[in-house]
């Protein structure tokens, strides 16, 4: 872990419509976008002396691709005015396949954005409809091709599996089509429903069931098998990259307790054992900044014990696992010495393995990472 440089996340809280499964904060009042962009720039000023430099920038949402090229440019300029952006930084934007034209993508590329994450979710139209997505599989194909034409050589695709009654063959077909694009990065999320989401209510109302455990495991294992066979590294529970350098450098920071600054409503930040997060609603967020206040909802000072627990559940999500030396240095306890009997039992049961002075989950272990954290 050479890279301890902080990452910057900017939450764009606008969506034209709400996808049924999504619990991220967003609103459809796009007329607030201009005011929001000024506010984000204002928020940066609060932190210019706390966070000096970043080597990743991630524009997430919401739907960042609802913003015009000019608006995105404004945000990036504000970033450059307030912070140092390292050379060779990873600069990602999430886009919705239905929103993007070739020209739009070309201009994003010109702004210095070098990584795209396309929320394709599925190549199956009935699935897309069920999920409440605005785009079709045809638009998804178009968006990907346009991104390549626009010169993006680091493209990630988001997919969702494990819908009620989804046949694993339909999912395999989606994976096969996805692979035909040869994306650099893939995120495959098993559908889980927060109680607040519309799809949760629909599931309840129609008596639909999420995939049961065995089936979920089957999807998880099959996905891993197909993608690793195709040459991808399964480097986190839901994430796959073609090479080490194509892993999402920004997201890795979350799993490694690397500092990050989150701007925009509901965004979370982490620095020096402290985590804080912004108010989730746009209007109070705008109001605070207009009054010269940080729009922080809450902050927490994390004890070493809490950090250690986080390090365990985050580490167990990743292929690289938990480095004993680093863990001892940061959290003061010798994992291997303290937990030897249970570690041996878990090794015996093929859930973890010792590799390179690290405790690493096996594929089966990754599937129960949350429990591995409780050893």
């Amino acid at each position: 872990m050479k890279n301890d440089q902080a990452g910057l996340y900017i939450h764009i809280p606008f969506c034209l419509s709400k996808c049924g499964y999504c619990s991220f904060y967003s609103i459809s009042s796009v007329h607030l976008i201009p005011e929001f962009i000024k506010a984000v720039a204002g928020e940066m000023a609060f932190y210019k002396n706390t966070f000096h430099a970043f080597d990743t920038i991630y524009l997430g949402g919401g739907t960042p691709s609802l913003l015009s090229v000019q608006q995105i440019d404004d945000i990036l300029k504000a970033v450059n005015n307030n912070f140092n952006i390292e050379q060779h930084s990873e600069i990602t934007i999430e886009v919705n396949p239905g929103d993007v034209s070739l020209e739009y993508l070309q201009q994003l590329r010109k702004l210095g954005i070098n990584r795209l994450n396309i929320g394709i979710q599925s190549f199956d139209d009935p699935v897309l409809k069920f999920l409440g997505r605005r785009h079709t599989s045809k638009e998804a194909v178009f968006a990907f091709d346009a991104a390549r034409k626009a010169g993006f050589d680091n493209i990630g695709i988001d997919l969702i599996y494990g819908l009620s009654g989804q046949d694993i063959d339909v999912w395999k077909q989606t994976l096969k089509e996805t692979l035909s694009f040869f994306p650099e990065h893939l995120s495959c999320y098993q559908l889980s429903l927060d109680e607040k989401t519309p799809l949760y209510k629909q599931y309840k109302k129609e008596g639909l069931k999420l995939t049961v455990e065995n089936e979920a495991l089957d999807f998880f294992m099959t996905t891993s098998q197909i993608l690793t066979d195709a040459g991808y590294i399964h480097y986190e529970v839901s994430n796959f990259a073609r090479t080490d350098s194509l892993k999402s450098r920004h997201n890795m920071k979350y799993w490694r307790h690397t500092p990050y600054l989150g701007l925009g409503p509901a965004a979370h930040s982490f620095l020096d054992c402290k985590r804080w997060w912004n108010k989730a609603a746009v209007k109070p967020y705008l109001k605070d900044i207009s009054e010269g206040k940080k729009p922080v909802e809450k902050s927490e000072q994390l004890s070493t014990k809490q950090l250690a627990l986080e390090a365990l559940f985050l580490g167990m999500r990743t292929k690289d696992g938990i480095n004993f030396e680093l863990y001892k240095k940061r959290y003061g306890s010798d994992l291997l010495a303290d937990k030897r009997p249970i570690i041996d039992e878990l090794i015996k049961n093929n859930l973890i393995e010792l590799k390179n002075d690290s405790l690493c989950p096996t594929l089966a272990g990754m599937a129960v990472a949350d429990s591995l954290a409780l050893i």
Binding site: L217, S238, F270, L309, E310, N349, A367, S371, L372, L374
Partner: protein, 615 residues
């Protein structure tokens, strides 16, 4: 408890003549409104004003209030000016409501001349109504049937009257209607107590004979003895003697139970009150014992004394071994107020240092466990409860074993014996078949049956106590739909083909789960234990094998499959704190489990093996 003077308006009552005293209990099926009626009587007679009134006045412990059962006996003296213009002292003696404490109940009733038999106007006569009636009749008490909850829309007074006649065999014309909740009919109840319960008999000049019906511990004054004086007089300065063992103490104070203890000059024949005499612990006092004066003792003790012995044994271990000293201190304190609870040091290969404890029954055990956790803030594990077995070894030595860990070497055993009880059951005839089937399944023998009224049966069986502990009471209640009542007496030890059954979790023997069982039942009990443990032990990341074994032979097994997927799909910046909080909670839950080898076993598993799943 601080001493406090009574209100002026009834200070004068204290020179009450014996003919103006009434001693009574309220008896009822659970939830028929016993505590509420007691509250209303207390309020009506003005012992307590609105300000210091709270519901369930006589149930002092949280656990009593929550479970709606009375565990400790309690007494209170109520002053009452009756319609005849005379002033009375009505002594209400509250009684526990469970078979584990039936001896305490019998001593409380022995202290009374009459009872209020409370019946819910909607539910009518229930199992405990009948069982309580029989208890009262055994003590030749005056019985006043009271129909409570007449305010309920579902009240059916006609039907209840008919049941009083046909099922209880009481004259329905003698009933009183009230609603303790609404406070109606309370004066009628008080008048009936005065008119229909006879005053106590006895002579204040005779040698002292006082019945101890309870005792509690006060951190300032030591043991407070609760008693009913039958003959004679006791006052401070007297030297009193416990008749069962002859120990003597000097009386420091006597008095009445008002809302708080209230000192009096003396207690005389007919009185209910307390005695403080420098007795260190409640264990030095025996419920049912007779108190007399050393100088001029009564010729013989009051009838009915028996030494209450624990019949169920289990070991208590702290979940965290660091808490051992805390547990030891807490048991010490706990024992001060619970004479029937006994304990000694014990240790387990699987669970470490702990204590072997004796209880009156499973409810008592349950209550002790809950109070230790609640009032002393301890997290504890209980081993599987056991009765006390008797083994005659080949060398002629006789050993008693209440802890499976101390099971003798099977090669040395000449004979094993287990305690038997006589179970007395009352039930509606329609349940007779299922109850007999249950009793036979529990190795019941020598049944006896009697019709006590139309459709009512009294049934008795001789059964091994161990079978009764093993989920008998719950199943009996269930098969009789709550209409059956049950009581038992230990009769003797009988020869039995006993074996030690061990439980292995992932190949490791968990001694706290071992049981001594009848050989013919071993396989069924083993399977049951394996199944129950399978339900109680949460799935873990790896497969867990549970086995029942006699010696080296595996007689039962079950497997808890591993859970194989629990990870959430997304965990980014905004998810981490929430996820940590969730895991912190799970971690705290896990702390309440005992790690045995690499398996976490929850507290509940240890008691669950005694429950069966067939109802």
């Amino acid at each position: 408890m601080k001493d406090k003077s009574p209100p002026n308006h009834w200070r004068a009552f204290f020179n009450t003549l014996m003919e103006n005293i009434r001693n009574f209990s309220i008896i009822a099926h659970i939830d028929h409104g016993k505590s509420t009626l007691a509250d209303r009587l207390i309020q009506f007679t003005g012992v307590c004003n609105e300000r210091n009134f709270q519901d369930q006045m006589l149930d002092n412990m949280d656990i009593e209030r929550e479970r709606g059962i009375t565990i400790k006996s309690n007494a209170i003296s109520l002053p009452y000016r009756a319609k005849d213009g005379k002033e009375y002292i009505l002594n209400l003696i509250d009684t526990p409501g469970h078979v584990d404490f039936s001896y305490e109940v019998s001593r409380s009733l022995a202290s009374c001349e009459g009872v209020l038999l409370l019946i819910d106007a909607a539910q009518g006569v229930q199992a405990q109504t009948l069982a309580n009636l029989y208890l009262a009749m055994e003590h030749n008490l005056a019985i006043i049937p009271i129909i409570n909850k007449i305010d309920l829309p579902s009240a059916d007074i006609e039907r209840v009257l008919e049941e009083i006649d046909s099922e209880l065999g009481l004259d329905p014309d003698t009933h009183i209607k009230c609603s303790a909740k609404e406070g109606t009919g309370i004066e009628d109840v008080l008048e009936a107590i005065v008119l229909r319960i006879p005053p106590p008999k006895g002579d204040a000049e005779n040698p002292l004979a006082a019945l101890i019906f309870d005792a509690h511990y006060d951190s300032f004054r030591g043991t407070i003895i609760h008693c009913r004086v039958f003959e004679g007089t006791v006052k401070s300065g007297d030297i009193i003697k416990f008749m069962h063992n002859g120990t003597t103490y000097k009386v420091e104070e006597v008095g009445h139970f008002l809302l708080t203890r209230t000192k009096r000059e003396k207690l005389s024949a007919g009185d209910v009150g307390y005695i403080i005499a420098g007795v260190k612990t409640v264990a030095d006092v025996r419920t049912g014992d007779t108190l007399t004066l050393q100088e001029r003792p009564c010729s013989q003790p009051l009838p009915g004394f028996k030494e209450v012995k624990p019949v169920v044994f289990a070991s208590i271990y702290p979940i965290a071994s660091d808490d051992y000293q805390d547990l030891a201190d807490s048991l010490d304190k706990f024992k001060l107020n619970d004479a029937s609870f006994i304990y000694e040091k014990d240790s387990s290969a699987a669970l470490g240092q702990g204590f072997r404890c004796g209880f009156l029954g499973l409810l008592h055990l349950d209550i002790v466990q809950e109070r230790l956790e609640r009032e002393y803030d301890l997290s504890i594990i209980l081993s599987v409860p056991s009765v006390r077995y008797r083994f005659t070894l080949k060398d002629g030595k006789v050993v008693y074993v209440d802890n499976p860990t101390h099971y003798p070497d099977p090669a040395e055993i000449a004979m094993g014996e287990e305690p038997y009880i006589r179970a007395a059951m009352m039930l509606p005839e329609r349940y007779l078949g299922t109850v007999m089937k249950l009793c036979m399944e529990k190795r019941g023998v020598n049944s006896n049956m009697n019709y006590t009224g139309p459709g009512r049966v009294e049934l008795s069986y001789e059964m091994p106590l161990a079978e009764v502990i093993f989920d008998f009471y719950d199943r009996f209640k269930s098969v009789t739909q709550g209409y059956g009542s049950f009581d038992y007496n230990i009769i003797d030890y009988r020869e039995s083909n006993l074996v030690l059954m061990d439980i292995l979790v992932n190949g490791e023997k968990v001694d706290a789960l071992s049981q001594i069982v009848h050989r013919d039942r071993a396989r069924a009990r083993g399977l049951n234990a394996c199944d129950r443990l399978k339900e109680e032990i949460p799935r873990q990341m790896f497969k867990i094998a549970i086995q029942g074994a006699i010696g080296g032979e595996i007689i039962a097994r079950s497997t808890i499959s591993a859970f194989r997927k629990d990870v959430t799909a997304k965990c980014y910046g905004g998810d981490i704190s929430r996820k940590r909080k969730l895991l912190e909670k799970q971690k705290a839950g896990k702390k309440r489990m005992k790690m045995i080898g690499s398996v976490s076993i929850p507290q509940s598993a240890f008691l669950a093996v005694l429950k069966s799943d067939n109802d």
